[in-house]
């Protein structure tokens, strides 16, 4: 039984208004995240089998049309709220040919159509232009982005629950680590914990020790951790479709002065940046401030960003990066990540989730406190 429009997880009335207010006659969702946001249906094979396109066509006025592979039709009818489903038989009917027909049927074959041109593969775009030579095409990404950047209370709670689940998994995985364990042992416990604490799937589990902490995303290896090693993790799962992305650092054995010195400087930067997650500030401003703070503390800062929105994707706007001019607004969720790395030697990392409110930012990742580096097996 299809659910109702109002029961969708994302803010569909907002998306509807944005489509109406856009320059487009209609927009086409094509990426897994925008198809999910628009339809409330997650077509997992759309991710694993890339040419099995799923598309939602919406003019923001009438009912949307959902184009998908026939094998997923029953599922989409049960999970989603869209009733006008056009199912294609894979390898027989082309989803792009079907899309051209739907655009024509909706009266936009000479109109302005918004596409996700940063997702839709070139070959399909070429075909669509050939089929609809009189249509004009533009980028629909800003429409979807503007809808998704503001999270509903349900979306915010889901993100916070995901961070909490991943923080628990990380804390348990660190505390269970003993000298002689491999990175793969740590990774297994971490992935296990992510699932145990509520995720439907593990997204990434970069957990490393000793010299491997000097890389941002190194796969867990057979390296055996030893006393005195820093342990570092950047991990996430999908919890009710929403990503978590937590960074934490621990030490196998007691901290030394060097650990304390780096960490206290990183924490100072971290707190200053968190305090800037307020309405009106932009990612560009935070990034510039981060650049200055790292310089003042003598910490290298070669990164392209130091935090990001997240939701149905692990990196969403607004990014905390030099070109981000979208200002924070209440209801946005952002990570702040502060770190230092020396390739192949050592690294420290922290990444937290903040909710933008009318007033002070609210820390939504407070289960695994990281004011100090977690000491394991001291």
């Amino acid at each position: 039984m299809a659910k109702r429009f109002e029961d969708a997880l994302g803010d569909l009335p907002r998306l509807k208004r944005l489509i109406q207010a856009s320059e487009f006659d209609l927009v086409v969702a094509a990426s897994p995240e925008n198809v999910l946001y628009t339809s409330d249906v997650f077509i997992s094979t759309q991710v694993d089998i890339r040419d099995r396109l799923a598309l939602v066509v919406w003019d923001g006025v009438r009912e949307p049309v959902f184009i998908l592979c026939r094998v997923e039709e029953g599922f989409a009818r049960e999970e989603g709220w869209i009733t006008d489903i056009r199912a294609y038989k894979e390898f027989v009917t082309s989803p792009i040919d079907m899309l051209a027909e739907v655009i024509d049927e909706l009266g936009a074959s000479r109109g302005h159509v918004g596409l996700e041109l940063d997702y839709l593969p070139a070959i399909y775009y070429e075909r669509l232009r050939a089929l609809l030579p009189n249509a004009r095409f533009g980028r629909a990404e800003p429409v979807f982005d503007r809808a998704r950047v503001i999270k509903t209370p349900r979306e915010r709670d889901r993100l916070a629950e995901g961070f909490r689940g991943t923080e628990r998994a990380l804390k348990e995985a660190f505390l269970a680590t003993r000298p002689g364990d491999t990175e793969r042992d740590m990774c297994f416990r971490l992935a296990d914990g992510i699932l145990r604490h509520g995720a439907e799937s593990v997204a990434f589990t970069h957990i490393n020790g000793g010299p491997n902490t000097g890389f941002p995303h190194k796969d867990p290896s057979d390296y055996r951790v030893k006393r005195g090693d820093i342990l570092k993790a950047d991990a996430g799962g999908r919890y009710g479709r929403y990503y978590s992305n937590v960074g934490r650092t621990a030490k196998l054995g007691p901290l030394n002065d060097e650990d304390r010195s780096w960490w206290s400087r990183l924490r100072e930067i971290h707190h200053e940046l968190i305090d800037m997650v307020r309405p009106g500030n932009t990612g560009r401003q935070l990034f510039e401030r981060a650049t200055a703070l790292h310089e003042r503390h003598g910490i290298p800062f070669p990164y392209a960003h130091n935090g990001h929105g997240l939701g149905l994707l692990v990196h969403e706007r607004p990014l905390i990066s030099p070109h981000e001019d979208m200002a924070f607004e209440p209801g946005m969720m952002s990570t702040i990540e502060t770190r230092v790395r020396w390739v192949g030697k050592c690294g420290y990392h922290m990444e937290d989730l903040l909710e933008v409110t009318e007033g002070s930012p609210v820390l939504r990742s407070d289960y695994f406190d990281n004011e100090e580096i977690l000491v394991v097996d001291a």
Copy 2:
């Protein structure tokens, strides 16, 4: 320390020959699977953060050039064999602008360039054409496909190990199921087992009971299984980068005549199709035979395919589908999947891995025998 060309997992000498023999002056790998195949480096953020492009440019004669995000450079130097790495700073330098420069540097700015047009997003293709107005572009997919369809012995063993790990996980998850368990309980045990038996990550865990077995890929729900329910799973993980994809069916309680009747007919079809996985036969021929066999046995066959190659992707060529004219050759690996489903009511499923040899096909998924439906808690 970079590894050597010869130590890469894929068959690089074969890819090199295919590039030389192609109509292209050079080809550009852009998808995660072809970048991995070509470089031996798996950039996980390329998947999670789609616009963080990684590209390998190769003319099949000189050394390839690897374009990637600076944050991954250290990792790529350690893991891969390509030494000419051009790292871009995200949000500052565009990887596509860098690609245009490399193509020009390699003397192909007026040449014929092979791109993965079914992967590369439209916006990047438009940009590249604007930057290189005198180049001609074509689809490089056939070059990569032809290389990847034949698996090296190491790739074949890795696939078989992956299937074995997933079969163990499935068998254990089924056998641990008791009346009153939810699908989520079953899913958790399954995901846990996939990791415990050697996967670095869980890819998909469609495990369902009772009426939900009537869907192909339904997410595990809070449905509580009861005695008399069919349990059905289609699951996979990534084992050393290579996908597994196993289908199995069990019953919570004793089998009845209806179960035996459907299953024995499905098994008969399954065996006949497996026997056709021999050099010279095509996916089209197998699909046509499957259509006839299902009709003879009175089993609906509304599917678009009934098996597929797999490797770095879960669906690779050759597909067993009505348009596949690529003939089997020794060294190929293919699944055969045989199933019946009544939406929202019930379904049975089996999916196995076959190796194509000079002679008879070899079953490489023989840990969890499914000649009979597995009976749980009889």
